[in-house]
Symmetry: C2
Subunit: 241 residues, 2 copies
């Protein structure tokens, strides 16, 4: 049994290595990658079925890497080990988990015991383990998450990428008006209207731009998510020609 560790911080990497060896005596080899790109290669070469992965790395973030790793072999087991429980990350992860795959999500702030338990549960028992702080977010997040629909989230990404209503309509196969409807929906859920006290229906804010920052401040969006979305957009643009 081999385990692949993906983590760019050397301190955390050696800590992980230690914890993995302690929790999994049946582990014969620990392979280390320092970014997502290297992870994809090493997973391919060594054909490892067990991966511990950090999110947010320089070259290729954890979600991207996980996506391609799973695309090649959907039965690999991946434990995500991250600093944050931001909605952007959780949504990103749950979007790419293949049907029935075993995976986990534990926070770096968790105690050693929790990490060890998760390692055994996922890699040995083939069970999913998601930290409570994270799972609690699935429904309603800490920052009062006004549960955006998956569809609305999609549109939110699009305006974050700077698309116009028209191109969004085209991309999502909707009418122009529908896009705008969803936008007003989003504006409402994000409280764009009454930022900074009541009586602020004056024109101090550009709704569309404001929605994006609001989303970022509420951690619905982050750098990694934007990066991924941008790549998807580029793909769509070129295939549309």
């Amino acid at each position: 049994m081999k385990v692949l560790i993906v983590e760019d911080d050397p301190l955390h990497r050696s800590y992980l290595n230690e914890q993995v060896r302690a929790a999994l005596p049946e582990c014969t080899a620990v392979i280390e990658a320092i970014d997502g790109l290297e992870a994809e290669q090493l997973a391919r070469e060594h054909n490892t079925a067990h991966v511990v992965m950090d999110l947010q790395m320089s070259k290729r973030n954890g979600i991207e890497a996980a996506r391609t790793i799973w695309r090649e072999k959907p039965d690999r087991r991946i434990l995500f080990w991250s600093n944050y429980s931001d909605e952007a990350y959780v949504r990103g992860v749950s979007r790419i988990v293949p049907n029935g795959a075993a995976y986990g999500y534990v926070l770096k702030s968790a105690a050693d015991e929790r990490l060890k338990l998760a390692l055994r549960s996922i890699f040995i028992e083939n069970q999913c383990v998601i930290d409570n702080e994270v799972r609690g977010m699935q429904q309603r997040s800490v920052t009062p998450n006004i549960g955006l629909t998956e569809a609305e989230y999609e549109i939110l990404m699009d305006i974050a990428l700077g698309m116009t209503d028209r191109s969004i309509a085209q991309r999502r196969h909707l009418s122009l008006r529908s896009v705008q409807n969803r936008l007003t929906q989003i504006y409402g859920k994000l409280d764009i209207y009454q930022v900074s006290g009541p009586q602020r229906d004056d024109g101090t804010f550009n709704l569309r731009a404001r929605a994006v920052t609001e989303a970022i401040l509420r951690k619905l969006l982050n750098y990694g998510a934007l990066e991924r979305a941008e790549a998807d957009l580029k793909a769509w643009l070129s295939e549309k020609m």
Copy 2:
């Protein structure tokens, strides 16, 4: 001589502690804070003149904390110790350094030796030390930074916050047209026009929103910067009443 360490990650914190003790035998006490808020308090209580500070922490980021610490006593010496050399961070730091204060900026990826040297230079010799990777960024960044003016950067923040042209004009004491001029300036420098190949002057992008993401993707903006700018904006809004 006392040293205050501000760092939310326990592994990094203990590493820092170790390095500080090794580099500074004259140091009699090491105090630890786990976020910016606690840092402000402890700096006040212990009246420490020497601080090592991480950027990006949960409760209050390093720049915010440094700002209030320096506001109270501008001759304190702060060494920023960060993962990234993003323009957003560097700009953020250089904006709040009091005139003539000694400070430093070293990356976490730097070797132990570099960290120790920086510690001695700043705390003992009272000299500024800025990592080369970081200083190189001051002029031209890795991602071809088309050097935004300080004024343009300011406007960029404002549209990132979702302000309308009119309110920006009001806030920056400019005419509406000037704001728009600066915007076109920014659009040009950020290459908003020819995203994804040539012949893209069609209306697939909303320039203003696109500029924001482009800035984020290029690391001119990040979460911390937005957070700070948002606070400033709120202050302005309320004082304007």
